[in-house]
Amino acid sequence: MQRKPSTYLMSAVAAVLALIAPFCMPINIATEIVIFSIFALATYLLISVAGLYSFGQAAFFGVGGYIAGYLYINTDVPLFVGLLLAALGSAVAALVVGMMSIKRIGIYFMMLTFAFNQMIFYLAYSWHSVTGGEDGLGGIRRPDITIPGVGKIDLSNHVNFYVLCAVLFVVVFAGLYQMMRSPLGLVLSAAKQNMRRTDSLGFSVYRAQLLAFVVAGAASGVAGALFAMLYRIMPIDAISWHSSGTAVFMVIIGGMSSIFGPVIGAAIFIWLQGFFSLMWARWPLLFGVFIILVVLFLKGGAIELFDRVRRLVTGARGERSAP
């Protein structure tokens, strides 16, 4: 078996990327990319590592966003308490949904995650007093970070807020990558290949998958909380099934063969969204066409594209990376 690069190395690469990003593009775009990278990484853990095709990841993104938003509007909780509660809340939601869906495999699992996504969507939609319903939850503050002896860090400053998001991105990246290399990650990928055999070897596939589902839920919740703070509003669209589909799309478009795939995917999605929505109010139509073209002609996503270009440049003899 091929040894995977160490977590330090990979996280360092992620950190360098996060450091360069704001110099290449407007800071808000970079912030959005970093936030959606966290969301895409969580989805990647489920789809590519564990083989759990969740089509309801936006539910946990939304739960995190609403919890953080509600707390920052109605209470004076410090930043990290709000983030922690958002992660905890979405982890609990993921635990409940996971317990009811994971034992159902394949297509049934996907349908259940979708149905639970819609359930949480309609809960948010009709619970107007807490979530703002159709109008979304507006006026979310970004609390200052107080560090004893250093002073206050004002998060309404875009650069400071980017740094917070980028740090959390690197932390989530390192955590998830370490998890994939750990025995737990091995059980997950073994179960992806052959669930029964893994089970009969004595590993509890169910518990491993449930744990992955809860971790992915918590990470999605953190992404949702940061997203709520970014534009100081938590829109109802962020929790809809379109958003879940987008998460799956980010994983595919980036390429499933590397953990950098979802990060690339998030960057591509944010740029596309910005580009298309400038052109036309009906931009999801263009997005739909783009998805169809990618699915039909570039199944391996951006990573496959790099590969193809490299092979074109170095001649047909260039070595192929693992599919």
Binding site: Y53, I107, Y108, F114, F116, Q118, M119, W241, I292, V295
Partner: protein
């Protein structure tokens, strides 16, 4: 109060038949392709808007209904031929994203053509008014709606259970490779099944237009309801879809008397309860 409840019960039955009809289409596609059709709601909305447009143009109601089946079925055939069939051999994640893209495109096209404002049509004259049942009134159109859905469901059931094409479809659902070996053209069958499924979704849309009107969120609402119906009824069971469709319709309709804002959430409560008591669904096999 009794009269109101009875009226809501009848209303729930009729709407439930529509839910069952839509879920039927979803179930056929899911069975043949083994992929959930995430564009199903968009096809449902397409049927509704086609019916609206046809009636608005002065066409007779029967023709409008026929068009609300045919137009989505034709679009469904194209979608299947161009994309779904080509992605048949890969992992189903790609088919899924393809259908997601299709849903986005159809939804936006509908908004471009018909706008976001809700539209409504009146039922034809012979379906206006109501029957007096003594304890409550039954609007004629509601009765027609339930009856049409029931007849269509019966026709599809006969088609699947009693005809040669139907037995081939069932063979394709059970064992695709084996059916192929027996000389059945499975790829044509899948195209036919997809067209039938999307057509049924469209017909459901056409049927509800005189009742509920057409609006830009109807597709997403129906998509989730059809999934919930399949989960409650049990995957792969046509009876299950029928029973669960009616159950969901009645729950939604009756609960809207007591707690109008919670009626959408309540159907998910029913789903969770079903999953806890019978994880395979009411009529599903283990």
């Amino acid at each position: 109060m009794i009269s109101l409840l009875a009226a809501q019960l009848l209303n729930g039955l009729a709407i439930g038949m529509i839910y069952a009809l839509t879920a039927f289409g979803l179930s056929i596609i899911k069975g043949l392709l083994n992929v959930p059709n995430f564009a199903h709601g968009a096809f449902y909305a397409l049927g509704a808007y086609v019916c609206y447009a046809a009636m608005h143009a002065g066409m007779p109601f029967a023709l409008a209904l026929a068009l609300s089946f045919i137009a989505p079925a034709v679009v469904g055939t194209v979608v299947e031929k161009l994309g779904v069939a080509r992605l048949m051999n890969g992992p189903y994640l790609y088919q899924l994203l393809f259908l997601f893209g299709t849903a986005l495109i159809l939804e936006q096209l509908i908004i471009i053509v018909w706008g976001t404002v809700g539209l409504s049509v009146t039922p034809p004259e012979w379906l206006q008014g109501a029957f007096d049942l003594g304890f409550t009134y039954l609007p004629k159109y509601l009765a027609f709606n339930g009856l049409m859905a029931a007849l269509t469901i019966a026709a599809v059931w006969l088609l699947i259970e009693r005809t040669r094409l139907g037995s081939q479809i069932r063979a394709g659902i059970d064992k695709r490779e084996m059916a192929q070996c027996l000389g059945i053209d499975v790829s044509r069958l899948i195209t036919a099944g997809f067209a039938l499924g999307t057509g049924l979704a469209g017909l459901s849309g056409g049927l509800v237009v005189p009742l509920l009107g057409a609006n830009s969120t109807m597709g997403a609402e129906m998509l989730s309801i059809a999934f919930v119906v399949l989960v409650i009824g049990g995957l792969g069971s046509l009876y299950g879809a029928l029973a669960a469709g009616i159950l969901v319709g009645v729950i939604q309709s009756v609960s809207s008397v007591f707690a109008p804002s919670a009626s959408t959430v309540l159907i998910y409560v029913a789903m969770v309860a079903t999953l806890m008591i019978r994880p395979q669904g009411l009529f599903g096999e283990r």
